[in-house]
């Protein structure tokens, strides 16, 4: 008889990436039907409960406890699996700089022992992230907060505190930054140069920095600010501070702003700040129309436009051959995106071509996915509905499996668009993983798949190797996400 077992490790912490790996190993053990390892926060316990994985022991766990949860074919299989994984749970992972033995337990101790420290990179669970950031800011440290699920009230409070202390608060939910040529969190190894970026979008920064680097330009610094910074509630505090920093930076000659359309109160403040700068700006507020830009700023409709404009209007086009003969009357585009801003860019391109578009992260002019009718569907797989209790698709690309199977089986879908976002932080072989996933799914008259690879040759995954792996799997590869969307239009015989 199926049995659910919970084992609680009191006061025991492992980070979410380590827990994902252990969960996967546990799930693959003999007789195991489902398994998870999670910290015992109320939200995690609810996820375990919804998955039928919470037993009495787990329900009694505290936020600082680790819960091992396994459902197996019988009690003995569950116990055997738990026993087998326990040594791995308790083993220490490699940490930090190699020769450092002592590890401080608090920011205060770390800052005291390292007076030169100037940045705290925070990626703890969201419910604890604001508390850690507050401690860092009060010690004069800049903060990059990768953590999400931080309340907007906490974000306002932290950014206000940062403004008072004259330190940058990048985030929450800041996935990408490049400072002094160093990629932080999910970022790419790009050439250094004179283009500075302030972005409220991680994958937006990755696409623009990679395109600039791959086409002869370079990046001075890329400052992430978190996706909500330009909402009226936050007031663009970090964006404006980021512009100040890049304005003062002698290395930066051109500044690019990337965001969703700002709030109506914030927009004039940003415009005023741009006007005060002696430097030229490129403004890419994806989905925004009728921007009243100052004379030193140029609007970019897409991320690719932004990269081209930052390089003085240089055109970088990589057309891929189009073959419409095998579409068999299927007319719809289905986008399956790990990058929210890449999904937004594709929506803008499809809307500009006069198409009806639906998305779970709709840009202005697109519909919500729930009332899509027969629109083209662009899905952001990094959205909360897909990532509740599991890592982002750039770390765990398995999230794409079910929507991909659905798209392949849908007789209306002619072209599937996919983004492969490589770089630090990301899965080591997204292209190979996609090829493996597809090998068990494809039939004879499948839709055409077009992908683009965001990243550079210097990234750990090596962009050209990823492209080769995709092409070997029969996937068309475009030079950028925008080019992929335009190729999809071409293949469907729609003029872009």
């Amino acid at each position: 008889m199926e049995h659910t077992l919970n084992k609680v490790f009191q006061g025991f912490y492992k980070d979410s990436v380590a827990l994902m790996r252990l969960s996967r190993d546990l799930a693959e053990m003999a007789g195991v039907n489902e398994a998870a390892l999670m910290m015992g926060s109320p939200s995690n316990k609810q996820i375990l409960k919804d998955a039928g994985l919470l037993a009495d022991d787990g329900a009694a766990a505290e936020g600082g406890d680790l819960i091992l949860a396994v459902r197996a074919i019988d009690a003995s299989a569950a116990q055997n699996a738990a026993n087998a994984i326990e040594p791995q749970i308790k083993s220490q992972t490699r940490t930090t700089t190699g020769d450092t033995v002592w590890q401080p337990q608090t920011i205060r101790a770390a800052a005291k022992a390292n007076p030169d420290a100037n940045l705290a990179l925070i990626s703890v669970p969201g419910e604890f992230a604001a508390a850690e950031a507050r401690k860092a800011i009060s010690r004069g440290l800049h903060v990059m907060m990768f953590s999400d699920n931080v309340s907007i009230e906490d974000e306002i409070s932290l950014k206000t505190q940062a403004l008072e202390q004259n330190v940058l608060m990048m985030g929450p939910d800041c996935g990408t930054a490049i400072l002094e040529g160093v990629p932080l969190a999910f970022a790419n190894n790009v050439t250094r140069g004179d283009v500075g970026i302030v972005g409220a979008s991680g994958t937006g920064i990755q696409e623009v920095t990679s395109l600039i680097s791959n086409n002869g330009g370079g990046i001075s610094h890329a400052i992430g600010v978190g996706g909500r910074d330009l909402k009226d509630e936050i007031g663009g505090i970090s964006t404006l501070m980021g512009i100040d920093r890049l304005d003062d930076d002698a290395e930066t000659k051109h500044i690019v702003l990337i965001s969703k359309p700002p709030g109506k109160d914030v927009l004039p403040r940003v415009m005023k700040r741009i006007k005060q700068s002696p430097k030229p700006f490129t403004v890419c507020f994806i989905g925004a129309t009728d921007l009243n830009l100052p004379a030193n700023a140029t609007a970019a409709r897409t991320l690719k436009d932004a990269a081209q404009t930052a390089l003085g209007g240089k055109e970088f086009e990589e057309k891929i051959s189009s073959n419409t003969s095998s579409l068999g009357g299927r007319t719809k585009i289905r986008g399956l995106y790990s990058g929210g801003t890449l999904a937004a860019e594709t929506q803008v391109i499809l809307l500009d071509a006069g198409l009806e578009v639906a998305s779970n992260a709709a840009v202005p002019g697109a519909k919500n996915l729930t009332d899509d009718g027969d629109a083209h569907q662009i899905i952001d797989l990094g959205d909360d509905q897909f990532t509740q209790g599991r890592p982002h698709p750039m770390i765990d690309p398995e999230i794409r499996k079910e929507p991909l199977a659905d798209a392949l089986a849908d007789n209306n879908v002619g072209v599937i668009l996919i983004d492969i976002v490589i770089g630090y932080g990301a899965h080591p072989d997204l292209a190979g993983q996609l090829a493996d996933m597809l090998s068990g799914m494809q039939g004879e008259n499948d839709p055409i798949i077009i992908a683009s690879v965001t990243g550079t040759e210097q990234d750990p995954q090596v962009r050209s190797s990823q492209i080769s792996a995709l092409q070997a799997a029969g996937i068309h590869v475009a030079g950028s996400n925008a080019d992929a969307a335009i190729a999809a239009l071409d293949m469907l015989g729609i003029n872009s």
């Binding site: 910290m39 936020g63 930090t96 703890v124 604890f128 003062d248």
Partner: protein
Amino acid sequence: MTSDTDQSSLLGGKLSVINVGLDKFATELADHDVPVVHLDWKPPAGGDPELAALLSKMGT
């Protein structure tokens, strides 16, 4: 406004990081020769977020 070489500007100086959370970020920074201290972090206040927030506001 801060000067380019001022530590508080972040840009124009040398990056030195305190990593709080994912171990792999510390490893990647170290691979870039960035000085990094990885905290031996555990959920504070016994894993109670509200108490942890309160303690941080008190400066502890």
